[in-house]
Each structure stands twice: as C-alpha cells, then as structure tokens.
C-alpha cells in the first residue's frame, strides 16, 4: 500500500482524538454557537467548489461549480456570521 495512504489514516485517527478532546471541553452554555460554528466549518466543501467553477472547462461543469460556490459560501459566511452574532451577546455583566 502507498505510504501516503497510511499517513492520511494516521492524520484522521489523531484528528479524531483532538476533535473529541477539544469539543468535550466546550461547556453546554456554548453548545448552540458550537453547532453553528462547526456547521460553518463543514462548508469547507467550498474549496472543491472553487476548483470546479474555475477550471474553465465545459459550460455545464462550470455552471454547476458556480452554483456549488454560491451555496457553500452561504453555509460558510452565514455560519460564521451568525455564530459571531450569538457570541458577542455573551457578556459578564
């Protein structure tokens, strides 16, 4: 098996540990912003959409890529913006 393949699986394994460890430490008070923030991160599919829309290939491929960029960007930008709006409301007094 290709060495790079195994490296990827190791990254996956270690990132899972980091993820569980980090997110378990988020207090319940912040669980809604955590959910919307994680949701924004999952819009990382925008990277694939950008490549699809920018290759300058067949028309259909580019149009589909463009639509994908639009929807993924709403997910990313809207997700971060609404999370920020929530978090700025948490005040000490």
């Amino acid at each position: 098996m290709e060495p790079i393949y195994w490296t990827g699986l190791y990254v996956f394994l270690l990132a899972c540990f980091v993820g569980f460890d980090t997110i378990t430490k988020v207090p319940p008070i912040l669980h809604t912003p955590l959910m919307s923030g994680a949701n924004a991160i999952s819009g990382v599919t925008v990277l694939g959409a950008i490549v699809s829309a920018g290759r300058g290939d067949t028309n259909l491929s580019t149009i589909l890529g463009f639509l994908a960029v639009v929807f993924a960007t709403i997910n990313v930008v809207g997700g971060y913006a609404v999370t920020d709006r929530m978090l700025q409301m948490f005040k000490k007094e």
Binding site: T32, L64, V69
Partner: protein, 463 residues
C-alpha cells in the same frame, strides 16, 4: 514555485481551526475562537484560488459575492428563536454544494472516470443528497411549514433498505461502465428521496438531533474526501466537524434519556397522541394545585434570599426573556441571589436557552448547567419555573411507569418554595402529568408568561 509552499498555508489553516475550537471552551474567548476559525477558512480559500487548476476567476468571484452577501444578510436578520432552522438550512446548503460539485466533476470527466473517483463521486452524491433533502425536511418541520408529527407508513424501513441496495448496485454498474452517466443522475435523485424518507418519521421536537447528526455526516464526508485527495487539512477539518456533531447528538439524546436508535426510528410522539395511553402519575394526585395571584407571588419573591429561575421554551415562545431579565435585576437589587438553571434540552437545541437569555442581556455567570446547580435547590428559598414542564417533572425520578422516567431533570421540588408560571392546567406537550404542580410547596400563577412576568416586574419595582 509557490505551489511548493502551498502546504504550509494549509497546515497553518488546520492549526487555526483547532485553536478556534479550543477557544470555544469559555464564553470570554469564544468569539476570538470563531474569528480564528473564519480566518483559517479565508486562508484556505485564498490558497485554493492560487491552485494551478484554477484558470478562470469570473464565476468564482461571482459565486463568492452572491453567497457571501446572502449569508451575511441572512445571519443578521434571523431571530435567535429561529436558530435551529437556520442551522438546518445552512447545513442543507453545504450538502447541496457537495452534490453539485460531484455533478460538475461527472460532467467534466465522463467517460474518463477511474474506479477510485467513481466510488468517491457516488459517496459524495449519496451523503450530499441525503444531507440536503434531510436538512430541508428538518427546516420545514421546525419552521412549521409542514406538521411536526412523525410520518410513518408500512414498509418504510424496507423501502429505505431497498433504495440503499439500489444505490450500491448502481455504483457497481458505474464501476464496470464509466460512461453510463444517467446512472449518476439516478443515484443523486435516490439520495434526495432517501434524505426525505429518513427524516419524515422523526418528530419535529427531535429535528435538532437530526441536524446535528447530518452535520456530523458531512464532516465525515469531508474527511473521506481528504483521505482520497491526500489533503491533510480536509482530513483534520472533517474529523473536527464529525466529532462536534457526534458529541452534540449524544448530549441531546442523553438530555432526553433516549437512544439514538429510538430518536431515528422510534416515531416518537405517535403513542402519546392516543388518548387513554397517557400514563397518570401514580401518587401525589391528591387535590388541586394551589394558585396564587401576581401580588402574592411578588410577596414571596421579596421575602426570598435566594432565587433560582428555571426557564423553558415556553418563556422564549412568549418572548418573555427581556421581562425575565428585568425581574432578575430587580430581585438582585433587593439583595436576593439570582441564578438561572438551564436544562440541557431547554429551548429547541442544546445551549439554545443560554443564547436567548444572553440576547436579553442576562450576564452569563448567572447561567448554570443542570449538573452544576442541581445540588443547590435544597438551600434555595424560591424557584420560579417559567414555561418549563417535563424538565422539572419529579416523575422522571420516582415513577417507573412515566414515559420520561430516567430522563435527567432539575430538582426544583427540593427548594423551599416553588412558583410555576403556566398558561393553564392542561398537561404539557407530551401529555404527561406533573406532580410538581400539586406539591405543598408549589403555587401556580396562571396566564401568559410575558404578562405575568411584567406583573412581577411592576410589583417588585413599586414600594
């Protein structure tokens, strides 16, 4: 060349995503964490724009502008009570984007698809499609566009299983004949149908669990794509999202004392709707609840040294958050200790009640999680329950025949006195009787939550 150094930027982005989530461990640093995470995303997008495969920028810039403006506007105008729907629809758009990217690649590559790419594209269509249509059903149920009741029909699970097998079979055919693109269209459509079929049997109140789970799936899908493309940043980011989704799913299931299987396949809410099946509390049903006037309740509040306010979704539904905060401020001015006890499933998603109270300017150090405050009820003079029912029902601890038996609840009945604000004596949403309302130390104040609390505020402010 620049591309030799591109991985340094992706690696930095991955580190920033992790730091961003790490800063979410405290309300003081959470905002910085979210901005770090957003910065990491921006960095990843900019680096991708420099990718050697990207040759034309018109469509990309147009897409980023349209999506960005729509996202910002939407995030600004959404009401905080509508947060579950908002997360659902954004999550759905993420799924739709994956689904569209898959078709973009299919239209570009057909018929030159290798086996590996075919498998990935089928998976992307399946997960993206299910996430999209499932999230849209969740959105519709949460927004009240369709009824929240579970839709069940005979052979539902069998149909889902058959559709799953058909997708696998289509995938196998595509491996053998890469040019058969109409089969990809079929796979994508079946995925959309599956998303709907898997979500309609789940009750409206359980939709946040579904969204959290779908978000976790989309995270794992990102990680899988990362494995395929040997992109460590995608593997890392996908694992983080997957972990967040799974943990929040578990938090919600634990808060309701139900298994994930029960949420997904239980059709919860159907049994409770049938008359005659509603279990009546075995004991404690002696006599009527005592009701109190607003003035009597105010007198109790003025006498109390310590007060715990227990908000439920009924408070948010009545838009009474601001009035409650005013009440809390006046009590604190009188020298009373004021704390808020938040149940994990108070509100419509985990942590939702905290956001709603923070919006009403309640300082977050006054907000306490169930586990942190449950021991304090015993030493508390007065608990004020506003729009909460099942999460304060002692039957969950004492009555094994109760449908909510075993669910973690707030020990409100242990405080010296309890005031319950309720619209009427009708049993709650799940049709379960609540012994707390009949206890000796409990008085009920009937009426609209907002009007009642405003009455309290007037009473507390006047001499």
């Amino acid at each position: 060349m620049f591309s030799d150094y591109i991985d340094i930027f992706y690696m930095t982005a991955a580190a920033l995503f992790i730091f961003g989530l790490k800063y979410m461990n405290h309300p003081d640093t959470a905002r910085k964490g979210n901005l770090l995470s957003a910065g990491a995303m921006l960095m990843a997008i900019l680096v991708t724009l420099l990718d050697h495969e990207v040759v034309s920028y018109g469509m990309i810039v147009a897409g980023l502008v349209v999506g960005g403006v729509a996202g910002v506007v939407w995030a600004r105008i959404v009401k905080m009570t509508d947060m579950p729907q908002m997360v659902a629809i954004f999550n759905g758009f993420g799924g739709l984007a994956s689904w569209l990217v898959a078709y973009s690649e299919i239209s570009r590559l057909t018929p030159n698809l290798d086996h590996f790419t075919t498998v990935v594209l089928v998976l992307a269509l399946l997960i993206g499609g299910v996430t999209f249509s499932g999230s849209m059903v969740a959105f519709a149920k949460l927004q009240g566009l369709v009824g929240g009741a579970p839709t069940l029909f005979k052979g539902q699970h069998l149909l889902n299983a058959i559709l799953g097998v058909v997708v696998l079979a289509l995938g196998a055919v595509l491996l053998a004949s890469p040019g058969a693109w109409p089969l990809f269209v079929l796979v994508g459509l079946i995925a959309l149908l599956l998303g709907v079929l898997l979500t309609i049997p789940i009750g409206g109140a359980d939709m946040p669990v579904v969204i959290s789970l779908l978000n976790s799936y989309s995270g794992l899908a990102v990680a899988m794509t990362g494995l395929v493309l040997s992109s460590p940043v995608l593997i890392t980011v996908g694992s983080l999202v997957g972990a967040a989704g799974l943990i929040l799913t578990k938090v919600m299931c634990d808060g309701m004392n139900r298994s994930l299987t029960n949420v997904l396949f239980g059709g919860f809410g159907t049994e409770a709707a049938e008359p005659g099946e509603v279990p009546v509390a075995a004991e404690g049903g002696e006599g009527q609840p005592k009701s109190a006037t607003v003035d009597e309740a105010v007198a109790m509040m003025k006498a109390a040294k310590s007060v715990i306010i227990v908000p439920g979704y009924g408070l948010a539904a009545a838009q009474a958050q601001h009035a409650v905060r005013e009440m809390g401020d006046l009590l604190a001015k009188n020298g009373t200790t004021v704390k808020y006890a938040i149940h994990p499933v108070a509100g419509r998603m985990p942590g939702h009640m905290n956001v709603l109270l923070a919006e009403a300017n309640v300082p977050y150090p006054q907000l306490f999680d169930m586990d942190d405050i449950n021991d304090e009820f015993e030493e508390t003079d007065l608990s004020i329950v506003i729009g909460a029912n099942d999460v304060v029902n002692p039957a969950a601890k004492t009555n094994p025949s109760s449908p909510i038996y075993g669910m973690p609840v707030l020990d409100v009945e242990k405080s010296k006195q309890v005031i319950v604000l309720k619209r009427s004596m009708n049993p709650g949403f799940a049709g379960i009787e609540n012994e707390l309302f009949l206890m000796d130390n409990t008085v009920m104040v009937f009426g609209d939550a907002k009007e009642t609390v405003n009455g309290f505020v007037t009473g507390l402010a006047g001499k």
